[in-house]
C-alpha cells in the first residue's frame, strides 16, 4: 500500500485555494499533533501526581509487599506486579498455541469459503465487553473450574506446589483462562496477517519438493513469519497486562503472594479498579497513581517493542513479494 503524494504547486489557481490550502493542511496537522500530545500529557500528568509517592518510597515501591493506608503509611506494589505477571503468563501459555492453531487454519488449511465467516466469528471475541467476560467468568467458568477442572488437575498433578490448596474457582488460574480467551483474537489476527505476508513462492518451493501441507506450513510459513508471530504474542501480552474488569471479577481480589494458582490474587489493574476511589490520604492517592504509571510504562514498552517487530516483518513480506 503506497501513499498518494501531492505534487507541489498543483491546484493553486484560485485565490481561495492559496488561502485554503495551507490553512487546511496546518489545521489537520495541528489536530494530529494534538492527539499525540495527549499521550505525552498522560505521561506528564501521571508522573506529576505520582511524585509524592515516588519521593516517599523510591524503588522500594516496586518491591514492597504491604499496602497500609493507616499510619504508618506504607505502600508497596509487589503483590500486584506479581499477580499481573502470573496471570499474563498463564494467558500466553493457554492463548498462544490456540491462537496460532487458529491462524494456521484460517490462512493455510481452511477451504476458502469458510475463511471469511470463521475469521469474523473469531474477531467477534474481541467485541464482547470485558465486563461481560467477567460476568461469564463468575457464574459459568468459575463453577466449572471449582467442581470439575481444578479437582481433576489436583487429582493428577496435585503434588506440584502450583496446584495446592482448596479449589475455589475465583483464582489466578481462572483469571488466566479468561485473559487467554480475550487475547486470542489479537494474537490470531496479527499472526494471520504475518502468514498472509509470506510470499507464495515460499510455499510453492516447499510443495514442489514434495512437502505435505503441514510441512509446508512449518518449514516455509511459520519459519518465515516467526518475527511476526513473536510480535503478535507480545501484542497479546500487552493486552493481558492492561486488562481490568474481567480479571477484577475473577481473580478473587486478595493481596497475597502465593505460589498456588488455586489461590486468589490481585493485579495492578484490579487493585486500582477496586480501591482507587477509596483512597484515604493524598499519599495513598499518589501511590495509586504511581501504580497507574507503572502499568502504563509496562504496556508502553511491551507495545512499542511489538509494533517494531510486526512492522519489520510486514515490510519484509511486502518487499519480498
Amino acid at each position: 500500500m503506497h501513499l498518494f503524494r501531492w505534487t507541489r504547486g498543483k491546484g493553486r489557481g484560485t485565490s481561495t485555494a492559496t488561502l485554503g490550502e495551507p490553512l487546511f493542511q496546518w489545521f489537520s496537522t495541528l489536530i494530529a499533533l494534538g492527539v499525540v500530545g495527549v499521550l505525552i500529557l498522560i505521561a506528564i500528568v501521571l508522573f506529576f501526581e505520582a511524585e509524592a509517592s515516588i519521593r516517599a518510597f523510591g524503588w522500594s515501591f516496586l518491591s514492597g509487599t504491604v499496602w497500609n493506608p493507616q499510619p504508618p503509611l506504607l505502600f508497596g506494589a509487589f503483590p500486584f506486579v506479581y499477580g499481573t505477571l502470573v496471570t499474563s503468563a498463564l494467558a500466553l501459555l493457554f492463548g498462544v498455541p490456540i491462537s496460532l492453531g487458529i491462524a494456521i487454519f484460517l490462512s493455510e488449511l481452511a477451504p476458502p469459503w469458510i475463511r471469511v465467516p470463521l475469521t469474523y466469528v473469531v474477531e467477534l471475541l474481541a467485541a464482547v465487553p470485558s465486563v461481560v467476560y467477567g460476568l461469564w467468568g463468575i457464574f459459568i467458568l468459575a463453577p466449572v473450574m471449582r467442581t470439575a477442572i481444578e479437582p481433576f488437575i489436583q487429582g493428577t498433578l496435585g503434588f506440584l506446589p502450583i496446584f495446592q490448596g482448596t479449589p475455589i474457582g475465583l483464582d489466578k488460574l481462572s483469571a488466566g483462562v479468561i485473559l487467554a480467551i480475550m487475547i486470542i483474537p489479537t494474537i490470531s489476527s496479527v499472526s494471520r496477517e504475518a502468514f498472509l505476508a509470506v510470499p507464495d513462492s515460499q510455499r510453492e518451493a516447499a510443495l514442489s519438493l514434495g512437502a505435505t501441507r503441514w510441512e509446508t506450513t512449518r518449514l516455509a510459513v511459520l519459519r518465515y513469519a516467526r518475527a511476526g508471530i513473536f510480535g503478535a504474542v507480545i501484542l497479546g501480552l500487552g493486552r493481558a497486562v492492561g486488562e481490568t474488569m474481567a480479571v477484577t471479577m475473577t481473580i478473587g481480589n486478595k493481596n497475597v503472594i502465593s505460589v498456588s494458582l488455586f489461590d486468589q490474587g490481585q493485579t495492578i489493574a484490579s487493585w486500582i479498579a477496586n480501591n482507587f476511589t477509596e483512597a484515604e490520604t493524598p499519599l495513598e492517592l499518589s501511590a495509586f497513581i504511581e501504580l497507574g504509571l507503572v502499568l502504563m510504562l509496562m504496556s508502553l514498552i511491551i507495545n512499542i517493542f511489538a509494533r517494531l517487530m510486526v512492522a519489520r516483518v510486514l515490510r519484509r513480506g511486502e518487499g519480498a513479494a
Binding site: 496537522t29 489536530i31 492527539v35
Partner: protein, 287 residues
Amino acid sequence: MKLPLDRDTRRRWIDVAMGVAAFVCVVIAIIPLGSILLEASIRGLRSLSPALLTSTTGGGGIGNAIQGTLILILLSALVSLPVGILTGIYLAEFGKNRLGAAVRFFVEVMTQVPSMVVGIFVYSLVLELGLIGLGSPRLVFSTISGVLALSTIMVPFVARTSEEALRLVPIAVRESSLALGIPRYRTILRVVVPSASSALVTGGLLGIARVAGETAPLLVTAFGSNDWFRGLDQPIESLPHTIYVWATGPYVAQNQAAWGVSLVLVVMMLGLSIVSRVVIRLRSVSR
C-alpha cells in the same frame, strides 16, 4: 521402537493430525463465545421486563443506565469523530514523511494504552485543573470526565480506521479531481472523504462499539448513579457499570438481572458491529 508405518504414511498422518488440531483450536475459541451469547440470551431474556427497562437502578431497573450509556457514547462520538477523522485525513493525505510516520506510530501505541490508565489520567487531570481554578475538583466524578475518558480511548481508534478508509480511495479519483483544477483541500473534502464515507461510518460505528462496553475508566470518572441523568457536572450511570455492580453484589436477583443488562449491552454492540459489516458488504457489492 519402529513404527509399523512407512515414512510417507506417517508424514501423511501427521499432516492430517495437525490439520485436525488447528481446526480444534478454532472450535475451542468459539466455545466461550457461543456460551456467552447463549447464557446472555437464555438468562438475560428471563430477567428482562418492561419494568427493568424503564425504572432507575435505585428502583431495581436499568432505565437510567441505558440513558447514561446513550448520553456518554453520543457526546464521546461528537468529540471523537471530528478529531479522529481529521487525524486520519492528516495521516492518509499529508503523512508521507517522517512526522507522519511518527504520528502514525504513536497513534497506534495510544490505542493500546490500558483503559484503566486512561481513567486515572482523566481523574488526575480534572482534579488538577479544578485545583487551579479551571472547573472544579468536584467534576472528577461527572459526565464530562466520563466523556473525556471515553474520547481519549476513541480518538486514536477512529484515527486509525479513518486513515485506512481514506487510503482505500483510488489515486485516480484524486488525480481526476486535481486535473479539473480543483484545489487539493477541496479534493479531499469534496471528493476523497465522500468516496470513503461508508468506510468512515464503519470506523465510527466500531469506535462507538469499542467504548460502549468500557467499564474500568468509568469507575474513576463517570462513577455511577442511581438516578436519571442530572447534568453534565453530575455522576452518571452506564450499562457496563450496572453489570459490574450487580454481578459482584450479594443479591441473587441482581446477579440474575446482570445477564439481562449484558444482553441489552451485547445486542447494542453486536448490532453496531454487524451494521458496520453490512455497510462494507453493500458498498463492495455496489462497486
